[in-house]
Assembly symmetry: C2
Homo-oligomer: 216 residues x 2
């Protein structure tokens, strides 16, 4: 978070959490389970959506959060996915009011799973609930094994973690033991799925976990 | 930036810019040229510092900005570099007051170059001057070629850009032409140095540019 006076941030958070509860209630009533997908820029979040959606036997909806551009939304639409774009124009994370507006402009004709791809940022998205049921954190082996130590909140709050780009491991000095030690210190229970967006490796297990967790 | 009321943000920025000018004046008086090194988590910023510092024929100082941990500071100190740590404990970027405190606790016995490694974040650090002379942006090929389109401000404000981890290019679908088109749309003139932290490729040119630009 920016270093804004404490009472201002407290007001912002209270208002955000109020709207988040409303968004979650609205989506739950329609039978929609909501996933807040977070991760650093370039972790491969959109590739994860492609891989998960083709493995899920339920209707999937996507909201893409970006500061600018609709590259990822167009990419997903090109594959027949129902996708909607939020542009934050400077803001470094999604918040509940932004998702509220996006969700009320969408049609949820059948129950399913809504994926909200947050702005690429390993810091701020973890601080704000947007009305999701679970938070999914994606981190790439190319980002280095020290990430849990430097960006603890995202790891602490994650319901599941995707460790992506594992096909690059032979070309990197990624220390998986050090990484997992950092993860487990912050988050003893979240499953960690090792995935590769190119080959699809690991996404069967992640999709199965998600189906189970969503109750779909 | 978080979606804080506009007048609050205006106050924060004015106060920040006032302190930034003071920090810059203080360092300039000591003959210290200050570089604000920005980039996403895992772009390889600390590896860049190692590579640049060993090529620069002037005294180098480092301030490491992290939310938590002092992994990078210890790493640089182990190599004999004069390094100091700022922990933001939640804040997603450095600001001028934080650098002000760090700088006044340091001794600048001789002129040289101060590198300030910002918090790993491709969004917020670009919004705040910390009293630097130039902004250096690092982005890795593993992050993907669409980054200028999604995170324009950092590219727009950069005085030079380091495109890192180019040794991974054969294993990725990095589209350099698309990347450079995005960069040049935002920033027609900043030099772009293609670098590899492992082999040191490209850092001679970056260090030469920096010596020239700093007037050292």
């Amino acid at each position: 978070m920016h270093m804004v006076k404490k009472d201002v941030m407290t007001d912002i958070r209270a208002e955000n959490d109020h709207i988040a509860a409303h968004v979650n209630g609205y989506l739950s009533d329609k039978g929609v389970f909501t996933v807040n997908l977070m991760g650093a820029p370039g972790a491969g979040k959109t590739t994860t959506l492609e891989n998960l959606i083709r493995r899920l036997a339920v209707k999937c909806y996507v909201v893409e959060g970006d500061i600018e551009s609709d590259i990822d939304t167009e990419r997903l639409r090109g594959q027949g996915v129902t996708a909607s774009q939020i542009n934050t124009f400077g803001a470094c994370h999604l918040d509940a009011p932004l998702l509220h507006n996006a969700v009320h402009a969408m049609t949820f004709a059948e129950p399913g799973i809504l994926f909200v791809e947050n702005v690429g940022n390993l810091v701020c998205p973890a601080e704000f609930s947007i009305g999701e049921d679970i938070k999914l954190l994606q981190v790439s082996v190319a980002d280095g094994s020290d990430k849990p130590y430097k960006y603890p909140l995202a790891f602490e709050k994650a319901d599941a973690i995707l460790l992506s780009k594992i096909d690059l491991t032979p070309y990197l000095n990624f220390d998986e033991e050090f990484f997992m030690k950092g993860v487990r210190h912050l988050n003893p229970n979240a499953p960690v799925f090792k995935v590769c967006g190119v080959t699809g490796e690991g996404y069967d297990a992640a999709a199965a976990w998600l189906m189970d967790r969503s109750g779909k």
